[in-house]
């Protein structure tokens, strides 16, 4: 995710310190742990025990905490990146799965799958600020680079809801293909990409006109349409290349950011969920839910260079320079 990526570079510049190790945190949905990978060494260095069913994972903007949604415990846990201790829990509302922070890092927006709501949390005071009613089974969460528009996708309603972060009102609803799971803006705010798991497509949406301008489809020789299920999306900072995780197709599609054509399919582990870049965008890590591993993609050569075993059913990934 570029959010994590940005954070890494931002910190580096701000503090002007020597670059520390690049660390990846992987949430393991089944083993209730976070696997800590030293990306420079490409090795698993630690496993952190967390709450039940960890999925959505990000680092706070100051890099001090890992945020992980533990859905079966109905909360988001904050983990100190230095000590790896759980230091606080956030009032996320029931069954949190994915969440996003505003660009200042002061506000957290959480999708509550079981409640048809998005919960807004004050990160400093760790109290809920309010809720927005959205469609059935909210899941994907994206925020525009200027922080003004929050996008939530609802899995059974099949929409991307555009929410004005100031008024907390829905300003537009865009119908996409079945079971939308993830939403990602390009860094310049020109496009919003929404993946549809059951539909097996990515809708490219004009965030101003609120219209689908292009639908990216995937065609892999020898694979049935049912096996191609678009989930995680990562787009490079320059907007030139997008990566789409295709779930049980066991592949990541590489998309030309300008033409939206599929350039290549990279074979990774089984049931690939989510992805994150290293701060320098040289590597992309994918979580492979069924094969219990992480694939490392070299972004320049578009090759899978290594696989690292993690916990059971790895789901989310966040990366930063420590």
């Amino acid at each position: 995710m570029w959010r994590a990526t940005l954070l890494g570079t931002g910190l580096f510049i701000l503090l002007g310190t020597q670059a520390g190790a690049v660390i990846a945190y992987i949430s393991n949905e089944k083993s209730n742990t976070i696997s800590v990978i030293d990306v420079d060494k490409l090795a698993l260095v630690k496993t952190i025990k967390v709450g039940q069913r960890p999925r959505g994972i990000e680092l706070t903007k100051d890099g001090k905490f890992i945020l992980v949604a533990v859905g079966d415990d109905d909360t988001i846990q904050m983990i100190d990146t230095n000590t790896h201790e759980i230091v606080a829990t956030l009032p996320s509302g029931p069954d949190p799965e994915l969440f996003t922070q505003d660009p200042t890092g002061k506000i957290l927006y959480v999708a509550n799958e079981n409640d048809n709501t998005v919960t807004i949390i004050d990160m400093e005071k760790r109290v809920p600020l309010g809720e927005v009613q959205v469609g059935v089974e909210p899941e994907g969460m994206g925020i525009s680079p200027d922080g003004k528009i929050l996008v939530n996708t609802s899995e059974t309603t099949n929409m991307a809801h555009f929410i004005d972060t100031e008024t907390r009102q829905i300003v537009a609803n865009v119908l996409v293909d079945s079971r939308p799971r993830f939403a990602e803006f390009k860094r310049d705010g020109s496009e919003l990409w929404v993946s549809s798991e059951v539909g097996g497509t990515v809708s490219v949406i004009d965030p101003v006109k609120h219209q689908v301008t292009k639908k990216i489809t995937f065609d892999i020789a020898g694979l049935r349409k049912e096996a191609i299920q678009a989930v995680g999306i990562s787009i490079t900072r320059d907007g030139k290349t997008g990566f789409v995780a295709l779930g049980p197709a066991n592949r990541v599609a590489v998309i030309n950011g300008a033409t939206h054509e599929v350039q290549k399919y990279l074979l990774v582990g089984q049931r690939v969920w989510h992805m994150a870049f290293t701060p320098d965008e040289k590597l992309l890590l994918t979580t492979n839910g069924v094969s219990n591993d992480v694939s490392i993609i070299d972004v320049a050569s578009l090759k899978v260079v290594k696989t690292i075993q993690v916990g059971e059913l790895p789901w989310g990934v966040a990366i930063s320079r420590q």
């Binding site: 069954d95 799958e113 079981n114 048809n116 469609g135 059935v136 089974e137 609802s154 899995e155 059974t156 309603t157 099949n158 929409m159 809801h161 829905i170 537009a172 609803n173 119908l175 293909d177 079945s178 079971r179 798991e197 059951v198 539909g199 097996g200 049935r224 349409k225 049912e226 096996a227 299920q229 049980p248």
Partner: protein, 391 residues
């Protein structure tokens, strides 16, 4: 409120029009209290209907963003009631979309009477293959799986498990014989062998008595003492006469499948994969009971109506049928892949869950059962063998 019926196309839904378009859905059912050998498997009075009601709510959550409002009208028929007349009565109240939980013959009557009026039916109850084969209708969509789909889903797993030698025990009712036909066909297709068959006669009598299981425990081992060596006992008992008594009481220590033991189904309260927990939780919250297969079949039908209406902006049954048959339609139904419609007989393609009553043991199609179009078409009658001619 503007009533949206046949022929009216919805206008742009982004406009802040005060009038929501209303989509009325009828629910025709033939419901009578049913007994089951197991107390916990007696169907609820709103079995099926509850699934439709939940889907109406789900559709309305979407509908509030699109200015569409869905409503459901429940028509419960007694045995003597005329299904055809009830369908026509719904049409007269602007419900041209009908969820039908009716026996096969009543469904055909209602469908034929409704055809000239443009009624579109969704069969959520009848599993008879003939409704998708020789007796198929161009205005009946099926969300209920067929006996052959259920039997194939079970057979693929038993063969994968290398339990290839089957002892088949068949009840004495007509439905049991149809299920046995489907099981024999499945055995032949996937390489299992029925080593011996027995019929369990329904001689009447109460399903439950205060004397309990004393006699059953003596009778069942003797009944299942057969000469042939077998791997698994497969039972066809759709009327709750004997199958539930089989597990743990067979002469040989063998697993039971079919109507008891490992049961193929479209849904089970224990199914929790692929986000199903969210649907299960919504259902329990609303109805204070667990979601059954019939509930799921009705939920799927009403969600298909919602999908079509939100995508096409129309509730015209003709537009809906074309959309649902087309390549753009995909139903997300918590089964790990998109569900689509077989355009040659209007059957919803779907994975078959295998449940032991507490857990989902497996989901078919099994790995390695391949198909040139969709692996879901390894379940049930496929296009080349279909006897259906849609008019």
């Amino acid at each position: 409120m503007r009533v949206l019926s046949a022929g009216i196309i919805l206008l742009a839904w982004t406009s802040a029009s005060a009038d929501a378009a209303e989509i009325r859905v009828g629910y025709l059912r033939h419901w009578e209290p049913k007994l089951a050998l197991s107390l916990i498997q007696i169907p609820a009075a709103n079995d099926g209907l509850a699934g439709a009601q939940l889907a109406i709510n789900d559709n309305n959550t979407t509908g509030k963003f699109l200015n569409q409002e869905f409503s459901l009208e429940d028509r419960r028929l007694a045995e003597a009631d005329d299904a055809a007349a009830a369908g026509i009565a719904l049409a007269e109240r602007d419900s041209s979309l009908v969820i039908a939980d009716l026996p096969a013959d009543a469904l055909l009557k209602a469908a034929d009477a409704g055809a000239p009026r443009g009624l579109l039916f969704f069969n959520v109850g009848a599993i008879d293959d003939r409704l998708r084969e020789e007796d198929c209708r161009a205005n009946v969509i099926h969300t209920a799986p067929t006996r052959s789909m259920l039997a194939d889903g079970l057979a693929q797993y038993l063969v994968w498990k290398q339990w290839r030698r089957w002892l088949l025990i068949v009840g004495s009712h007509a439905e049991d014989r149809l299920y046995a036909d489907a099981l024999r066909r499945a055995a032949k297709r996937f390489g299992a062998r029925i080593v011996q068959e027995k019929v369990f006669e329904d001689t009447g009598g109460a399903r439950r008595t205060d004397s309990g299981v004393v006699q059953i425990q003596r009778q069942l081992p003797v009944f299942t003492q057969v000469g042939a060596a077998y791997d698994v006992l497969v039972a066809a008992d759709e009327n709750e006469v004997f199958a539930a008594y089989l597990p743990y009481r067979t002469w040989d220590a063998r697993p039971v499948a079919g109507s008891a033991g490992l049961v193929p189904t479209s849904w089970d309260p224990s199914h929790d994969q692929w986000g199903a927990v969210q649907l299960q939780d919504r259902f329990v919250k609303m109805f204070s009971r667990r979601m059954s297969a019939r509930d799921m079949q009705a939920w799927s039908a009403v969600r298909m109506i919602g999908e079509s209406t939100s995508r096409t902006g129309s509730a015209d049954p003709k537009v809906m049928l074309e959309f649902l048959k087309g390549p753009e339609f995909a139903l997300a139904a918590f089964k790990g892949q998109r569900l689509t419609l077989r355009d040659w007989n209007l059957q919803l393609r779907q994975p078959i869950l295998l449940t032991d009553g507490r857990m989902i043991v497996s989901v078919s199609p099994q790995e390695g059962f391949l198909h040139q179009v969709s692996e879901l078409d390894t379940l049930g009658f496929d296009r080349p063998e279909s006897k259906c001619k849609l008019k």
